[in-house]
Protein backbone atom coordinates (compact mmCIF):
# COMPACT_ATOMS: atom_id res chain seq x y z
CA UNK A 1 0.00 0.00 0.00
CA UNK A 2 1.42 3.34 -1.04
CA UNK A 3 1.71 6.37 1.19
CA UNK A 4 -1.05 7.92 -0.88
CA UNK A 5 -3.36 4.94 -0.26
CA UNK A 6 -2.56 5.05 3.48
CA UNK A 7 -3.55 8.70 3.56
CA UNK A 8 -6.78 7.96 1.70
CA UNK A 9 -7.74 5.15 4.11
CA UNK A 10 -6.97 7.36 7.08
CA UNK A 11 -9.12 10.15 5.65
CA UNK A 12 -11.99 7.73 5.05
CA UNK A 13 -11.67 6.34 8.56
CA UNK A 14 -11.87 9.80 10.03
CA UNK A 15 -14.81 10.71 7.82
CA UNK A 16 -16.98 7.70 8.72
CA UNK A 17 -18.73 8.06 12.10
CA UNK A 18 -17.70 5.39 14.58
CA UNK A 19 -20.41 2.97 15.70
CA UNK A 20 -18.84 2.03 19.00
CA UNK A 21 -22.07 0.76 20.50
CA UNK A 22 -22.82 -1.71 17.73
CA UNK A 23 -21.41 -5.06 18.72
CA UNK A 24 -22.75 -8.57 18.42
CA UNK A 25 -22.30 -10.34 21.72
CA UNK A 26 -22.78 -13.94 22.77
CA UNK A 27 -24.38 -12.54 25.90
CA UNK A 28 -26.26 -9.40 24.94
CA UNK A 29 -26.71 -6.80 27.62
CA UNK A 30 -30.17 -6.57 29.14
CA UNK A 31 -31.94 -4.90 31.99
CA UNK A 32 -35.10 -5.39 33.96
CA UNK A 33 -36.81 -3.12 36.42
CA UNK A 34 -39.97 -3.23 38.42
CA UNK A 35 -41.64 -0.81 40.79
CA UNK A 36 -43.78 -2.25 43.57
CA UNK A 37 -45.52 0.23 45.89
CA UNK A 38 -42.81 2.80 45.27
CA UNK A 39 -39.82 0.47 45.65
CA UNK A 40 -37.88 0.11 42.42
CA UNK A 41 -35.67 -2.87 41.79
CA UNK A 42 -33.39 -2.86 38.77
CA UNK A 43 -31.23 -5.61 37.32
CA UNK A 44 -28.49 -5.07 34.77
CA UNK A 45 -26.97 -8.18 33.28
CA UNK A 46 -25.46 -9.82 30.28
CA UNK A 47 -27.73 -12.57 29.03
CA UNK A 48 -25.95 -15.78 28.04
CA UNK A 49 -27.64 -18.08 25.55
CA UNK A 50 -27.60 -21.86 25.69
CA UNK A 51 -26.56 -22.01 22.01
CA UNK A 52 -27.14 -25.74 21.66
CA UNK A 53 -25.72 -26.60 25.05
CA UNK A 54 -28.35 -28.85 26.59
CA UNK A 55 -26.85 -29.03 30.05
CA UNK A 56 -25.37 -25.95 31.64
CA UNK A 57 -25.64 -26.45 35.39
CA UNK A 58 -23.29 -29.10 36.67
CA UNK A 59 -21.27 -28.99 33.46
CA UNK A 60 -17.97 -27.37 32.50
CA UNK A 61 -19.91 -24.15 31.95
CA UNK A 62 -21.31 -23.80 35.48
CA UNK A 63 -19.75 -26.12 38.02
CA UNK A 64 -21.68 -27.30 41.04
CA UNK A 65 -20.38 -25.51 44.11
CA UNK A 66 -18.69 -22.65 42.28
CA UNK A 67 -19.59 -19.01 42.90
CA UNK A 68 -21.21 -17.96 39.64
CA UNK A 69 -22.86 -14.75 38.49
CA UNK A 70 -26.29 -15.42 37.02
CA UNK A 71 -25.44 -13.56 33.86
CA UNK A 72 -22.17 -13.20 31.97
CA UNK A 73 -19.18 -10.93 31.52
CA UNK A 74 -19.38 -8.34 34.29
CA UNK A 75 -21.40 -9.54 37.25
CA UNK A 76 -25.13 -9.08 37.24
CA UNK A 77 -26.17 -6.14 39.41
CA UNK A 78 -29.30 -5.64 41.47
CA UNK A 79 -30.32 -2.25 42.79
CA UNK A 80 -33.04 -1.59 45.37
CA UNK A 81 -34.32 1.97 45.82
CA UNK A 82 -35.49 1.16 49.35
CA UNK A 83 -34.86 -1.51 51.94
CA UNK A 84 -36.51 -4.82 51.07
CA UNK A 85 -36.71 -8.35 52.38
CA UNK A 86 -35.61 -11.28 50.26
CA UNK A 87 -37.13 -14.58 51.33
CA UNK A 88 -37.92 -12.80 54.60
CA UNK A 89 -34.39 -11.53 55.23
CA UNK A 90 -33.79 -7.76 55.32
CA UNK A 91 -31.57 -6.22 52.65
CA UNK A 92 -30.51 -2.58 52.78
CA UNK A 93 -31.26 -0.41 49.77
CA UNK A 94 -28.43 0.02 47.31
CA UNK A 95 -26.70 -1.78 44.48
CA UNK A 96 -25.08 -5.19 44.73
CA UNK A 97 -23.36 -7.63 42.44
CA UNK A 98 -25.32 -10.86 42.27
CA UNK A 99 -23.83 -14.30 42.64
CA UNK A 100 -25.13 -17.80 43.17
CA UNK A 101 -23.65 -21.06 44.33
CA UNK A 102 -25.49 -23.80 42.41
CA UNK A 103 -25.65 -27.25 43.99
CA UNK A 104 -26.77 -30.52 42.53
CA UNK A 105 -29.12 -31.91 45.17
CA UNK A 106 -29.64 -29.16 47.69
CA UNK A 107 -30.53 -25.50 48.06
CA UNK A 108 -28.45 -22.97 46.15
CA UNK A 109 -27.01 -19.89 47.79
CA UNK A 110 -27.81 -16.38 46.65
CA UNK A 111 -25.01 -13.92 47.38
CA UNK A 112 -25.31 -10.16 47.11
CA UNK A 113 -21.93 -8.50 47.31
CA UNK A 114 -21.50 -4.77 47.95
CA UNK A 115 -18.68 -4.52 45.39
CA UNK A 116 -20.64 -3.96 42.22
CA UNK A 117 -18.08 -3.91 39.43
CA UNK A 118 -16.67 -7.41 39.24
CA UNK A 119 -15.84 -9.56 36.26
CA UNK A 120 -17.46 -12.96 36.28
CA UNK A 121 -14.10 -14.68 36.63
CA UNK A 122 -13.44 -12.75 39.86
CA UNK A 123 -16.15 -14.03 42.21
CA UNK A 124 -16.04 -12.53 45.68
CA UNK A 125 -14.79 -14.41 48.70
CA UNK A 126 -17.26 -14.90 51.48
CA UNK A 127 -17.45 -11.85 53.72
CA UNK A 128 -19.55 -10.40 56.50
CA UNK A 129 -20.58 -7.55 54.23
CA UNK A 130 -22.40 -9.93 51.93
CA UNK A 131 -26.04 -10.90 52.01
CA UNK A 132 -26.35 -14.68 51.71
CA UNK A 133 -29.50 -16.78 51.76
CA UNK A 134 -30.60 -20.19 50.61
CA UNK A 135 -32.70 -20.25 47.45
CA UNK A 136 -34.48 -23.22 46.05
CA UNK A 137 -34.29 -24.29 42.40
CA UNK A 138 -37.39 -25.43 40.58
CA UNK A 139 -37.59 -27.52 37.41
CA UNK A 140 -39.03 -25.70 34.42
CA UNK A 141 -39.11 -26.19 30.64
CA UNK A 142 -35.89 -25.35 28.82
CA UNK A 143 -35.12 -21.62 28.67
CA UNK A 144 -32.65 -20.57 25.99
CA UNK A 145 -31.63 -17.13 27.25
CA UNK A 146 -30.86 -16.45 30.92
CA UNK A 147 -33.75 -14.32 32.09
CA UNK A 148 -34.45 -12.31 35.20
CA UNK A 149 -38.08 -11.34 35.65
CA UNK A 150 -40.78 -10.52 38.14
CA UNK A 151 -43.47 -13.03 37.23
CA UNK A 152 -45.67 -12.35 40.26
CA UNK A 153 -46.63 -9.09 41.94
CA UNK A 154 -48.77 -8.45 44.99
CA UNK A 155 -49.51 -5.31 46.99
CA UNK A 156 -46.48 -5.66 49.24
CA UNK A 157 -44.01 -7.50 47.07
CA UNK A 158 -43.55 -10.06 44.40
CA UNK A 159 -41.37 -12.83 43.04
CA UNK A 160 -38.01 -12.10 41.47
CA UNK A 161 -36.92 -15.04 39.35
CA UNK A 162 -33.86 -16.18 37.45
CA UNK A 163 -34.51 -18.75 34.77
CA UNK A 164 -32.09 -20.57 32.49
CA UNK A 165 -31.72 -24.04 31.05
CA UNK A 166 -34.23 -26.13 33.06
CA UNK A 167 -33.84 -24.23 36.33
CA UNK A 168 -35.84 -21.46 37.86
CA UNK A 169 -34.80 -19.72 41.08
CA UNK A 170 -37.70 -17.81 42.65
CA UNK A 171 -36.90 -15.21 45.30
CA UNK A 172 -39.63 -13.62 47.34
CA UNK A 173 -39.31 -9.83 47.54
CA UNK A 174 -41.15 -7.93 50.23
CA UNK A 175 -41.22 -4.15 49.98
CA UNK A 176 -41.87 -1.52 52.61
CA UNK A 177 -45.60 -0.82 52.61
CA UNK A 178 -46.44 2.80 51.91
CA UNK A 179 -49.79 2.45 53.64
CA UNK A 180 -50.97 0.66 56.74
CA UNK A 181 -54.06 -1.39 56.00
CA UNK A 182 -54.96 -2.19 59.57
CA UNK A 183 -56.46 -0.05 62.30
CA UNK A 184 -57.18 -0.72 65.93
CA UNK A 185 -60.76 -1.18 67.08
CA UNK A 186 -60.46 1.96 69.20
CA UNK A 187 -59.24 4.04 66.26
CA UNK A 188 -61.94 2.59 64.02
CA UNK A 189 -64.83 3.12 66.44
CA UNK A 190 -65.58 6.80 65.61
CA UNK A 191 -66.23 5.95 61.96
CA UNK A 192 -68.40 2.84 62.33
CA UNK A 193 -71.97 3.05 61.17
CA UNK A 194 -74.05 3.86 58.11
CA UNK A 195 -74.01 7.09 56.15
CA UNK A 196 -76.66 8.40 53.77
CA UNK A 197 -74.64 9.26 50.76
CA UNK A 198 -75.47 11.28 47.68
CA UNK A 199 -73.41 11.94 44.60
CA UNK A 200 -73.15 15.56 43.50
CA UNK A 201 -72.14 17.09 40.19
CA UNK A 202 -69.80 20.03 39.65
CA UNK A 203 -72.57 22.47 40.54
CA UNK A 204 -73.44 20.64 43.74
CA UNK A 205 -76.66 19.26 42.28
CA UNK A 206 -77.55 15.94 43.96
CA UNK A 207 -77.58 12.71 41.95
CA UNK A 208 -77.65 9.03 42.94
CA UNK A 209 -78.33 8.20 46.56
CA UNK A 210 -76.61 5.33 48.33
CA UNK A 211 -75.80 4.14 51.81
CA UNK A 212 -72.18 3.67 52.84
CA UNK A 213 -71.76 1.23 55.69
CA UNK A 214 -68.47 1.32 57.57
CA UNK A 215 -67.40 -1.71 59.59
CA UNK A 216 -64.26 -2.96 61.31
CA UNK A 217 -63.36 -6.48 60.26
CA UNK A 218 -60.14 -8.46 60.63
CA UNK A 219 -58.40 -5.37 61.94
CA UNK A 220 -59.27 -3.26 58.92
CA UNK A 221 -61.81 -0.49 58.45
CA UNK A 222 -64.07 -1.49 55.57
CA UNK A 223 -66.74 0.19 53.51
CA UNK A 224 -69.56 -1.18 51.43
CA UNK A 225 -72.18 0.60 49.37
CA UNK A 226 -75.82 -0.17 49.07
CA UNK A 227 -76.85 -0.70 46.32
CA UNK A 228 -73.95 -3.11 46.12
CA UNK A 229 -71.06 -2.00 43.93
CA UNK A 230 -69.77 -5.09 42.08
CA UNK A 231 -66.38 -3.51 41.43
CA UNK A 232 -65.55 -2.09 44.83
CA UNK A 233 -67.50 -4.82 46.66
CA UNK A 234 -66.53 -4.54 50.33
CA UNK A 235 -63.38 -2.44 50.23
CA UNK A 236 -60.65 -1.51 52.67
CA UNK A 237 -60.71 2.04 53.96
CA UNK A 238 -57.04 2.86 54.39
CA UNK A 239 -56.16 5.81 56.55
CA UNK A 240 -53.85 8.23 54.75
CA UNK A 241 -54.22 11.15 57.18
CA UNK A 242 -56.32 11.91 60.23
CA UNK A 243 -59.96 11.36 59.15
CA UNK A 244 -58.88 10.84 55.53
CA UNK A 245 -59.14 7.42 53.88
CA UNK A 246 -58.42 5.90 50.47
CA UNK A 247 -60.27 2.83 49.22
CA UNK A 248 -58.38 -0.39 48.60
CA UNK A 249 -59.99 -3.00 46.38
CA UNK A 250 -59.64 -6.69 47.28
CA UNK A 251 -58.99 -9.53 44.88
CA UNK A 252 -60.73 -12.88 45.18
CA UNK A 253 -58.08 -14.02 47.64
CA UNK A 254 -58.83 -11.18 49.99
CA UNK A 255 -55.64 -9.27 49.17
CA UNK A 256 -55.73 -5.56 48.36
CA UNK A 257 -54.51 -5.23 44.81
CA UNK A 258 -55.17 -1.57 44.10
CA UNK A 259 -55.53 1.55 46.22
CA UNK A 260 -57.36 4.47 44.66
CA UNK A 261 -55.13 7.28 45.78
CA UNK A 262 -55.36 10.13 44.90
CA UNK A 263 -58.43 9.30 42.78
CA UNK A 264 -60.76 8.80 45.75
CA UNK A 265 -60.47 10.31 49.20
CA UNK A 266 -63.02 9.92 51.96
CA UNK A 267 -62.81 12.92 54.28
CA UNK A 268 -64.76 12.55 57.51
CA UNK A 269 -65.80 15.38 59.80
CA UNK A 270 -66.32 14.80 63.49
CA UNK A 271 -68.51 16.18 66.20
CA UNK A 272 -67.80 15.17 69.79
CA UNK A 273 -65.13 12.69 68.67
CA UNK A 274 -67.56 10.85 66.39
CA UNK A 275 -67.58 11.03 62.60
CA UNK A 276 -70.84 12.65 61.56
CA UNK A 277 -70.39 13.35 57.89
CA UNK A 278 -68.06 12.71 55.01
CA UNK A 279 -67.11 14.01 51.62
CA UNK A 280 -65.64 12.04 48.76
CA UNK A 281 -63.15 13.97 46.72
CA UNK A 282 -61.44 13.08 43.47
CA UNK A 283 -57.86 13.65 42.41
CA UNK A 284 -58.72 17.21 41.39
CA UNK A 285 -60.02 17.82 44.91
CA UNK A 286 -63.57 18.16 43.64
CA UNK A 287 -66.34 16.94 45.93
CA UNK A 288 -68.34 14.32 44.10
CA UNK A 289 -70.31 12.80 46.95
CA UNK A 290 -71.44 13.80 50.41
CA UNK A 291 -72.69 11.72 53.26
CA UNK A 292 -74.20 12.20 56.71
CA UNK A 293 -74.43 9.64 59.46
CA UNK A 294 -77.76 7.85 59.55
CA UNK A 295 -79.65 8.38 62.78
Amino acid sequence: MTARTHALVLMLALAVPARATAQIRASEIGSMSQIIDGTKLTMQYSRPRARGRDTLFGSKFVHWGDVWTPGANFATTLDFSKDVKLNGHPVAKGMYSVWMVPRKDSAWTLVLDPKVKRYHEEPPDSSAAQFRIAVHPEAVPFTEVLTWSVPAIRANGGTLAMQWERVRIPIDVEVQPSLVMTMSAADAAPYLGAYDYVEVDSTGKPGKRKVLTVTHEDGTLKGEWEPYDPYFKKFAMIRIAPDWFAPGVYDKNGQVYEVYRPEVTFEFSRAKERAVSLQMRDDEDNVYAKGTRKP
Partner: protein
Protein backbone atom coordinates in the same frame (compact mmCIF):
# COMPACT_ATOMS: atom_id res chain seq x y z
CA UNK B 1 -65.74 21.20 56.74
CA UNK B 2 -64.32 21.21 60.26
CA UNK B 3 -66.02 22.75 63.25
CA UNK B 4 -63.87 24.47 65.84
CA UNK B 5 -63.51 21.36 67.96
CA UNK B 6 -62.69 18.92 65.21
CA UNK B 7 -60.45 21.49 63.57
CA UNK B 8 -58.18 21.51 66.62
CA UNK B 9 -58.09 17.73 66.50
CA UNK B 10 -57.33 17.81 62.81
CA UNK B 11 -54.50 20.28 63.20
CA UNK B 12 -53.05 18.41 66.14
CA UNK B 13 -53.25 15.10 64.37
CA UNK B 14 -51.70 16.52 61.21
CA UNK B 15 -48.84 17.87 63.28
CA UNK B 16 -48.39 14.37 64.72
CA UNK B 17 -48.36 12.88 61.23
CA UNK B 18 -45.78 15.45 60.14
CA UNK B 19 -43.64 14.74 63.17
CA UNK B 20 -43.86 11.05 62.37
CA UNK B 21 -42.58 11.73 58.89
CA UNK B 22 -39.60 13.61 60.25
CA UNK B 23 -38.56 10.80 62.58
CA UNK B 24 -35.94 8.30 61.40
CA UNK B 25 -37.49 5.26 59.82
CA UNK B 26 -37.44 2.09 61.82
CA UNK B 27 -35.68 -0.85 60.26
CA UNK B 28 -38.81 -2.82 61.04
CA UNK B 29 -40.68 -0.53 58.64
CA UNK B 30 -42.31 2.38 60.28
CA UNK B 31 -45.94 3.25 59.89
CA UNK B 32 -46.63 6.06 57.46
CA UNK B 33 -45.32 7.20 54.14
CA UNK B 34 -41.71 7.59 53.14
CA UNK B 35 -40.73 10.66 51.20
CA UNK B 36 -37.39 9.44 49.97
CA UNK B 37 -38.76 8.57 46.55
CA UNK B 38 -40.16 12.01 45.80
CA UNK B 39 -37.83 14.33 47.67
CA UNK B 40 -38.57 17.09 50.11
CA UNK B 41 -40.90 19.99 49.59
CA UNK B 42 -39.14 23.13 48.32
CA UNK B 43 -38.51 26.14 50.50
CA UNK B 44 -40.61 29.07 49.27
CA UNK B 45 -38.34 31.58 47.59
CA UNK B 46 -38.10 34.87 49.50
CA UNK B 47 -40.20 37.56 47.89
CA UNK B 48 -41.90 35.14 45.51
CA UNK B 49 -44.93 36.57 43.76
CA UNK B 50 -47.68 35.18 41.60
CA UNK B 51 -47.05 37.60 38.76
CA UNK B 52 -45.94 34.83 36.39
CA UNK B 53 -49.03 32.69 37.01
CA UNK B 54 -51.02 32.44 33.80
CA UNK B 55 -53.79 34.98 33.43
CA UNK B 56 -57.37 34.87 32.24
CA UNK B 57 -56.20 35.98 28.80
CA UNK B 58 -53.67 33.16 28.65
CA UNK B 59 -56.29 30.61 29.69
CA UNK B 60 -58.78 31.31 26.93
CA UNK B 61 -58.83 27.67 25.94
CA UNK B 62 -59.36 26.53 29.55
CA UNK B 63 -61.96 28.88 31.01
CA UNK B 64 -62.89 26.45 33.79
CA UNK B 65 -59.38 26.75 35.18
CA UNK B 66 -59.27 30.53 35.44
CA UNK B 67 -60.55 30.55 39.02
CA UNK B 68 -57.98 27.97 40.11
CA UNK B 69 -55.10 29.89 38.54
CA UNK B 70 -56.41 33.08 40.17
CA UNK B 71 -56.52 31.33 43.55
CA UNK B 72 -52.97 30.02 43.11
CA UNK B 73 -51.76 33.46 42.07
CA UNK B 74 -53.05 34.82 45.37
CA UNK B 75 -50.94 32.50 47.56
CA UNK B 76 -47.53 32.13 45.86
CA UNK B 77 -45.75 31.89 49.22
CA UNK B 78 -47.73 28.70 49.90
CA UNK B 79 -47.77 27.04 46.49
CA UNK B 80 -44.04 27.74 46.05
CA UNK B 81 -43.42 25.60 49.13
CA UNK B 82 -45.10 22.52 47.72
CA UNK B 83 -43.51 19.83 45.62
CA UNK B 84 -45.22 18.87 42.36
CA UNK B 85 -46.08 15.16 42.53
CA UNK B 86 -47.45 14.71 39.02
CA UNK B 87 -44.53 12.61 37.83
CA UNK B 88 -44.37 14.50 34.54
CA UNK B 89 -40.89 15.35 33.36
CA UNK B 90 -40.55 18.78 34.82
CA UNK B 91 -37.89 20.94 33.16
CA UNK B 92 -35.00 22.03 35.39
CA UNK B 93 -36.43 25.51 35.74
CA UNK B 94 -39.44 24.09 37.56
CA UNK B 95 -38.95 24.87 41.22
CA UNK B 96 -42.26 24.03 42.84
CA UNK B 97 -45.95 23.48 42.22
CA UNK B 98 -46.13 27.20 41.49
CA UNK B 99 -43.94 26.60 38.41
CA UNK B 100 -46.67 24.36 36.99
CA UNK B 101 -48.98 27.37 36.91
CA UNK B 102 -46.44 29.56 35.10
CA UNK B 103 -44.79 29.52 31.68
CA UNK B 104 -46.09 26.63 29.60
CA UNK B 105 -48.67 26.01 32.29
CA UNK B 106 -48.44 22.30 32.93
CA UNK B 107 -51.38 22.70 35.30
CA UNK B 108 -53.57 23.53 32.30
CA UNK B 109 -53.58 19.87 31.33
CA UNK B 110 -52.35 17.90 34.35
CA UNK B 111 -55.08 16.86 36.81
CA UNK B 112 -52.54 16.14 39.54
CA UNK B 113 -51.15 19.68 39.36
CA UNK B 114 -54.72 20.93 39.43
CA UNK B 115 -55.68 18.68 42.33
CA UNK B 116 -52.64 19.70 44.38
CA UNK B 117 -53.37 23.34 43.66
CA UNK B 118 -57.03 23.04 44.64
CA UNK B 119 -56.13 21.17 47.82
CA UNK B 120 -53.56 23.82 48.76
CA UNK B 121 -56.02 26.63 48.10
CA UNK B 122 -58.81 24.92 50.06
CA UNK B 123 -56.69 24.13 53.09
CA UNK B 124 -55.15 27.61 53.05
CA UNK B 125 -58.65 29.08 53.13
CA UNK B 126 -59.39 26.79 56.07
CA UNK B 127 -56.47 28.32 57.90
CA UNK B 128 -53.95 25.51 57.60
CA UNK B 129 -50.26 26.28 57.78
CA UNK B 130 -47.83 25.43 54.98
CA UNK B 131 -46.58 22.41 56.92
CA UNK B 132 -50.12 21.15 57.39
CA UNK B 133 -50.86 21.65 53.71
CA UNK B 134 -47.68 19.80 52.80
CA UNK B 135 -48.72 16.91 55.06
CA UNK B 136 -52.12 16.77 53.34
CA UNK B 137 -50.50 16.84 49.90
CA UNK B 138 -48.20 14.01 50.95
CA UNK B 139 -51.14 12.03 52.31
CA UNK B 140 -53.12 12.30 49.12
CA UNK B 141 -50.52 12.57 46.39
CA UNK B 142 -47.24 11.45 47.97
Amino acid sequence: MFDAHSRRQFLGAFAAVLAGMLLPRNRAWAVGRGLDSVGPHPVPRPGITGEKVLTKEQLESKPKLIALFDDVRAIPEVVDGIRCNCGCTNPPEYYSLLSCYEGKGMAMSCVICQGQGRLAVRLHKEGKSLDEIRAAVDAKFG
